[in-house]
C-alpha cells in the first residue's frame, strides 16, 4: 500500500518476506489488507476484554485521582524520552531539518522543561512529531504487509511489528536502569498515562463504530499511511465517487 518509489531491492525483499505470511490465508472478510482477519478478531476481542477489565479502570482511576498538571507532566516526561528516538528516525528518513528540530526539543525540554516535565519546546514553536521505526521502514519503500493485531499492544502490520522490535530496543526506558522492578514500573506508568490520554477517544469509538474491529482496523491503517507520508498521502481513487450528486 505505502509504496514510495525508492529501493526496488528492498521492496522486493519485503515482498518476499511478506509473501510467506500471506500464502494460504484466504481472505475471510472484505479488506485485502487483512487476510488474517479471523485470528486478528480473536486477539482484538482478547485485547478488548483486557482493556475493559484492567486498563480502562486503572486509567480512569489515574485520571480521577491525579490532577491534570501532574498527568501532563508524566505524559511530557515520557514523550521527551521518546523524542530522542523520534529524531534518530527523522535522520534515518532523510528529514534532517526535522531531526535537528526534534533533537532541539529534547535539549530544551530536558533543561528548561525540567527533565521533560514541561513541554517548553512546543511553546517555543517546535511542535512534537510522531516517528517510529515502522514509519522509517515505510519511507524506505517497505510495504506495510498484512494487518496484525498484537496481544496487549493492539493494531499493527507485519512491517510495523518489525519496527516495534527496534522501537523497543531503542526505548530509553529500556536502558534507563538495571533494576527490572524500576523499569517495569516505568513501563506501567507510561502505559497507564498513554491509556488515560486515550479515554475520550475510546468512548468516541464506542459511539462511532458499527463493528469496532473493522472500524479500528481501517482507521489505524489510514493513520499509519498518513504518518508514513507525513500528512500528505497521495489521493486514493474512490471507485464509487465518480458521479456528481446534487
Amino acid at each position: 500500500m505505502e509504496s514510495r518509489s525508492r529501493g526496488g531491492i528492498k521492496r522486493l525483499s519485503a515482498a518476499l518476506l511478506l509473501a510467506g505470511s500471506l500464502a494460504g490465508c484466504a481472505a475471510s472478510g472484505g479488506n485485502p489488507a487483512d487476510p488474517l482477519e479471523k485470528v486478528n478478531r480473536a486477539v482484538f476481542a482478547f485485547n478488548d476484554g483486557a482493556d475493559k477489565v484492567v486498563f480502562t479502570p486503572v486509567a480512569r482511576g489515574y485520571r480521577a485521582v491525579l490532577p491534570g498538571f501532574f498527568r501532563t507532566g508524566v505524559s511530557n516526561f515520557f514523550s521527551n524520552l521518546e523524542d530522542v528516538w523520534v529524531s534518530v528516525n527523522d535522520l534515518l528518513q532523510g528529514k534532517f531539518q526535522q531531526g535537528l528540530e526534534d533533537f532541539t526539543r529534547v535539549i530544551f525540554n530536558s533543561t528548561f522543561g525540567i527533565a521533560g516535565l514541561f513541554d517548553f519546546a512546543s511553546g517555543a514553536g517546535l511542535p512534537k512529531h510522531t516517528e517510529d521505526f515502522g514509519q522509517t521502514l515505510g519511507s524506505w519503500g517497505f510495504e506495510s504487509g498484512p494487518y496484525v493485531v498484537i496481544p496487549f499492544i493492539g493494531p499493527s502490520t507485519v512491517r510495523d511489528g518489525f519496527g516495534l522490535l527496534f522501537d523497543y530496543k531503542a526505548d530509553l526506558v529500556y536502558w534507563a536502569t538495571d533494576s527490572v522492578a524500576v523499569r517495569n514500573s516505568l513501563y506501567a506508568t507510561r502505559a497507564i498515562s498513554n491509556r488515560a490520554n486515550l479515554l475520550d477517544a475510546s468512548s468516541l469509538l464506542e459511539q462511532a463504530a458499527l463493528d469496532r474491529y473493522s472500524f479500528v482496523r481501517d482507521a489505524w491503517l489510514q493513520r499509519r499511511r498518513n504518518l508514513v507520508y507525513d500528512g500528505n498521502p497521495p489521493r486514493e481513487r474512490d471507485e464509487s465517487d465518480d458521479e456528481p450528486t446534487k
Binding site: 472478510g29 472484505g30 499511511r225 464509487s240
Partner: protein, 206 residues
C-alpha cells in the same frame, strides 16, 4: 407586499455573496461560531449531548453534503440501492455522524486551531482545507482536513480527516461486509439500531 419585495431584492446580493464565501473562510467561520458557543455553554460542557446535537444541526449540518458522504461510505453497493434505500442510508448515516460528534463536542476543551494556507486555483471545484488543532495541555497538534466541493449553494464538506483518518471511508469495509451478509436493507437496519442505542441522553435526532 411591496416592502417585502424590496427587502428581498435588497437581500439578494447578500445571498449571492454568501455563496461566494471561500471554502477556507467558510470552515473558519463555522468553527469560530461553534467554538464560541461551546466555550459559553455550560450545559454542553456538563455533558448535555442533546443540546450539542441541536448545535450541530443548526450550525454544522447545513454545510455538509451527506448524500455524497453516504455514497462514499457505501461504496460500489450504492448503485444497486434503490432511490428510497439511498435516502434512508443517507439519513441514518447522517444521524450516526451527528450523534457521534455530539458526544465528542461535550468533551471539547480549549483548543488552538491553525489553518494552513489554502492551495487552490480559483476555478477548482474540489479543495482540501487543512488545519492543525492543538488541545491545551497536549503538545502534539492533530491535523483536521476538510474535503470540500463547490455546489450551487456554496461550498459543502463531504469528508473530514482527523489525523489522516477519514470519518467517511473508515466505514467502508464495515458497510460492505454488512451488505454482503444482509443486503442493503440489512445495513439500513443495523444503522437504525445503532442510532437507537442510548447516548447518555438522546441527541441529534431529526
Amino acid at each position: 407586499m411591496k416592502i417585502a419585495n424590496c427587502l428581498l431584492l435588497a437581500l439578494l446580493p447578500l445571498l449571492a455573496q454568501a455563496q461566494a464565501v471561500a471554502p477556507d473562510v467558510l470552515v473558519k467561520t463555522i468553527t469560530d461560531e461553534v467554538t464560541t458557543t461551546l466555550k459559553k455553554d455550560k450545559d454542553i460542557q456538563a455533558g448535555d449531548t442533546k443540546k450539542a446535537g441541536a448545535l450541530i444541526e443548526a450550525k454544522i449540518v447545513p454545510h455538509f453534503n451527506f448524500v455524497r458522504m453516504a455514497r462514499i461510505a457505501v461504496g460500489r453497493n450504492w448503485r444497486s440501492a434503490t432511490p428510497e434505500q439511498q435516502k434512508e442510508l443517507t439519513s441514518e448515516f447522517k444521524t450516526l455522524l451527528v450523534r457521534t460528534y455530539s458526544s465528542a463536542l461535550v468533551n471539547y476543551r480549549d483548543q488552538q486551531i491553525d489553518y494552513k494556507p489554502l492551495r487552490a486555483k480559483p476555478e477548482d471545484n474540489e479543495v482540501t482545507v487543512k488545519s492543525d488543532v492543538t488541545q491545551s495541555g497536549s503538545s502534539q497538534p492533530v491535523s483536521i482536513d476538510y474535503e470540500m466541493e463547490k455546489t450551487d449553494n456554496g461550498w459543502k464538506i463531504y469528508d473530514v480527516k482527523v489525523g489522516g483518518v477519514s470519518l467517511v471511508t473508515t466505514y467502508r469495509d464495515t458497510f460492505a461486509s454488512e451488505v454482503r451478509e444482509h443486503g442493503i436493507d440489512g445495513l439500513i437496519k443495523s444503522l437504525a439500531a445503532k442510532n437507537r442505542e442510548p447516548l447518555g441522553s438522546k441527541a441529534g435526532r431529526s
